[in-house]
Every structure is written in C-alpha cells, then in structure tokens.
Amino acid sequence: MVSKKVDLSVKIKDFKLKNPIITASGTYGYNNEFDAFCDVKKLGAVVTKGITVEARAGNDGDRIFETTGGMINRIGLENVGIQTFIEEKLPVLQKCGIDFILNVAGSTPENYIELAKIAQENNFKAIELNVSCPNVKCGCIEYGVNKQALYELVLMVRKHFDNCLIVKLSPNVTSPEEMATAAQSAGADAVSAINTVRGMGIKLDFVNGEFRKTSVAGGLSGKTIKPVALSFVDRISKVIDIPIIGMGGIYTLNDVFEFFSVGAKAVQIGTANFTHPDIAEKLVDDLEKFMIENNFKTIDELQKKLMEA
C-alpha cells in the first residue's frame, strides 16, 4: 500500500525517519529479531537494547512481573556490550536496511563519553541516552532524576557526538519541565518520554498458615502508564522546543494520535510488541491508510490538526 500522495517521514535534527513509528529500547532486540513477525525495515527506526561499554549479565532472580494492564521488568541492562554490538549486531542492521537509534547506558560519565565517541566514529545517525542508571561515582544518584546531573551528562555527551542526540526522560521526577529544560539547554536534539515508571509487584500465597511472598521491583510499562506518559509529554511540550518522541502504553493508532495531540513528533512502541509482536508494522500501515483516506499529506499537517483539537 505505497502511495506517493502521503509523506510519512519525520525529521529530528538531520535524522530523517521514514515514518514516526519507532520501537522502544529493550523490547525489540538489537536488529531484525522481530522479522519473524514484522517487516522491520518498514519501521521508522528500531531503538537498540540499552548498550553499555562492557557486556552485562543483568540481574539475578525474577525479572518480569505482569500487572493489571502492564508489566514490571528488572532486567538489569543485560546486553552484549558495544564491541560485540558493532561486530555482530550492526552488520545485520546495515544488511537489512534497518534505521536504528543506539540506546546507550553507563554507570560513570566516562562510560557515556566512550559510547558517544564510538557512536561518532561509526557515524551512527542517532543515539538515545538512557539516564535511568545510577551514577556510581556520584552517590549513585540517577542522572535522570537530578537536573544538574542530567545537564552535565548531556553537555558532556554533546561534545563527543554531533549527530542526533536524544535524551530519554524518566517519569520518576517531581518536575518533568525542569528535566526536559535541562536536556534542551545542554544541547539535546530531542527527548523521548517516558521511560518506565518505578513500581513493585507482589504475589502472596497463604500456604499451611504461612504467607509466602514474592516481589519484583522495577520499571512499570504497558497500557497502564499511558495517562502518566500523556501528562508528562503535555507538560514538557509547553516548555521545550526540541522534538518529543512520546511513548508509554501505545497499542493503537488512536494512542499514537493522543501523543501527537499533546506535542509528540514521533512515538515509540514498547511493551505492546510483547502482546502483539506484529503491532509496529500494523501501526505504520494504519497510519498510512488513515492519512490517505482523510487527505493528510504530511505528518506535520496531521500533527497540527491534532494539536489544535
């Protein structure tokens, strides 16, 4: 269903995406793993699993807990590390023609600098900073919940990376406006929001007069966080001018439109990929169909209309 009449592309700095449907970090692997369900190269972009300098084994114990309308994860950033990513995962992305955004994470400023330099050397079009990691050198305060720490981190990464720099904002803050402003002032080209919401799942069994408890504390995602995400995007869009990539509980085209209506320029699909592994491609098709049927020629035009609604 390719039509010359509609242009689904969006531009974030110099990074041109075929369409505004992106898959979120941690839910889509490193490259074409979802090809068994989806035509991955049709997507606007794939955000890679969070990459650190060295490979990480992740957390011990239970990592997943399903909640009403969502799930909690505490994977602990298990990943292959940047070198293996470049040697083994990148060639597949290139061969398949998949546009990607490298999600980077670290526990020290030096980690982020090293990753930014490698991304620059390889001329990656875009990176997304995962700032929901504790800074082990600075009292283990998460970069993403301290505006000064966030500002300094983004400023530093900016010095080493010229292409599109996206900062993924944490919702676990008192003032979304201050965090978004800090990212923009430090030179971010875009922000993505929201990362997972801190949460805890508890399962209790009462056996032979004793309670047995299992609990998983981590990041909550899925349909259940959409209202939190919409409010966050709505608030930050009033104070920053750089593009916002909205995410949090998107399952339908209508959800995408809700995020556009509060100021998002593109969206990421996360947990929905687990429920419906073919959903990202379907959303691209649905969006194109809607635009053709309703005479929208560009995403800009559609977004303007939604923001006026």
Binding site: G26, T27, Y28, G29, Y30, E33, F34, A36, F37, K49, A57, G58, D62, R63, I64, F65, E66, T67, G69, G70, M71, N73, I75, E78, G222, K223, T271, N273, F274, T275, H276, P277, D278
Partner: protein
C-alpha cells in the same frame, strides 16, 4: 514464514478439575517439532501465555492447560469455533535421536513428552514413559509407570523417589524430563552421576518469546564459562549437564 497466527478452536475438553485439553489449528501454521511451544494471546492480558505442544497432527495443535490464573481461565472457557491469536513455533526442540529413552514427567510437565514420545516411536526409538502426579485424579493419560504422592494410584511417592529404580530397570541411553524446577534438578543431577545424556524442558515467565527482552534467563555452563540463556528462545530444552542448578 511469519510466526503470528489466527487459530480456530477445534476441540476443548476438561480432563480433570483443573486441566483442559485445547486443540486448535491455523492455515498458516505448517509444522511444530517436539519441544517447540506456542504462546497464546489471552484477551487483554499484556503477556502471551506459553504452552508446550502435547500433539500436532494434521495441522492441529494440542495443548494441555492447567487453570492457574486469568490467562488459563480465559483459555479454559473457549468454545469450539472461537478464534485465538498465537505465536508459533517458538523455542528449540528436543533432539530426535535413536537412543533408548526414559521420559519422565511430573504433573502438567508430561505435556511436551506426549508429543516427543509419539515422534520417537514413529522413528522406531524404544521409549519408557514415567510420570508422577499428586493424586489419581490428577493423572493425565496412560504411562508405562505412574506414581502418586498419596498412593491413590500406581506407586506411592514422588517420581523422584523411583528415579534410581527406573534408571536401573529401563537402562536408558538418554533421559528426557519436564517437571517443576526442583524435580528437574534431581533428575539431571542423577543422570549426570550415571553418565546418562539428559535433556530438561524448562519453564519460566516470559515476555517476548523470542529472546530479545532477556526476561526469562537461566544460567548455563559451557566450556567452563557461565552465561545467560533464555528459556524462550535458547530453550525450553537444555542439556541437563549445562544448566547451573
């Protein structure tokens, strides 16, 4: 071949108080090898529910579902003709080898062993199928050997209590088992001690089903190196000797 399918329920029957047999087919699902599993979308639940395949014949998948929570409740209430959405085939497979095989299942863990047993017999492999259940009401089919915890049918005790006797009597070249984690550990450890090849079929809560989210990892040891393996993609079948118990 894409792995998302829309299936139609062909047959559903209550086997006992908590276990249902559900059969469904989809024109887009061509084949399933023993060990591989299906993951079924359950109404508005976030995560699909993975089920071992108990049989696959003429395009029809059979799974055994034990009512535990909302997902299995939903599935047990389906009617013939209802549509379901599911992913398949997922995961790896048992090795189909010409070795005298002792199959050991506990509870609902017998499910994937039914299909494996059938395929092994088709290629002429000698098998012996042993299974353990809580009571006679929980027994899920016919076996060469049965034990129940309360002794209401077969031998009295856990299947683990009869492990040494089974190995001595059957003299298997290979053991394949599917059971709760502690039972698998006991069987794999005993098999290793006796130098018998052992495949274990494992279970863990899964999110993606294709190895990307890393939510269902276990540790395995290969060439002296410990690494993570996903139950959903690298498994569910593992070499019992490699699993870090």
């Amino acid at each position: 071949m894409k792995k998302n399918h829309i299936g139609t329920i062909k047959n559903i029957k209550e086997i006992n108080k908590t276990v249902y047999s559900v059969e469904f087919s989809s024109p887009t699902l061509k084949n399933i090898t023993p060990g591989e599993y299906v993951s079924i979308l359950c109404e508005d639940l976030t995560l699909r529910r993975p089920f071992s395949v108990a049989d696959f014949e003429n395009g029809t998948v059979k799974v055994l579902i034990k009512k535990r929570g909302k997902g299995t409740q939903y599935l047990s209430n389906l009617k013939v003709g209802d549509k379901i959405e599911f992913s398949a085939p997922l995961g790896n497979t048992f090795k189909l080898e010409n070795k005298k095989t002792l199959l050991i299942g506990a509870g609902i863990g017998v499910a994937p062993l039914f299909y494996l047993n059938k395929k092994l017999k088709e290629i002429g492999v000698e098998t012996y199928f042993a299974a353990g259940f809580l009571t006679k009401d929980d027994i899920l089919g016919d076996f060469d050997f049965v034990s129940t915890d309360d002794g209401s049918k077969g031998e009295k005790g856990s299947i683990c209590d009869f492990l040494k006797l089974l190995i001595a009597g059957v003299k298997p070249q290979k053991i394949v088992c599917c059971a709760p984690h502690p039972v698998l550990k006991i069987i794999a450890t005993e098999a290793a001690k006796k130098g018998i090849e052992c495949e274990v079929c494992m279970e863990k809560i899964m999110a993606c089903g294709i190895g990307v989210c890393r939510g269902c990892v276990i540790q395995i040891e290969k060439d002296g190196k410990i690494e993570n393996a996903t139950v959903c993609k690298d498994g569910p079948v593992f070499n019992g000797k490699e699993v870090v118990w």
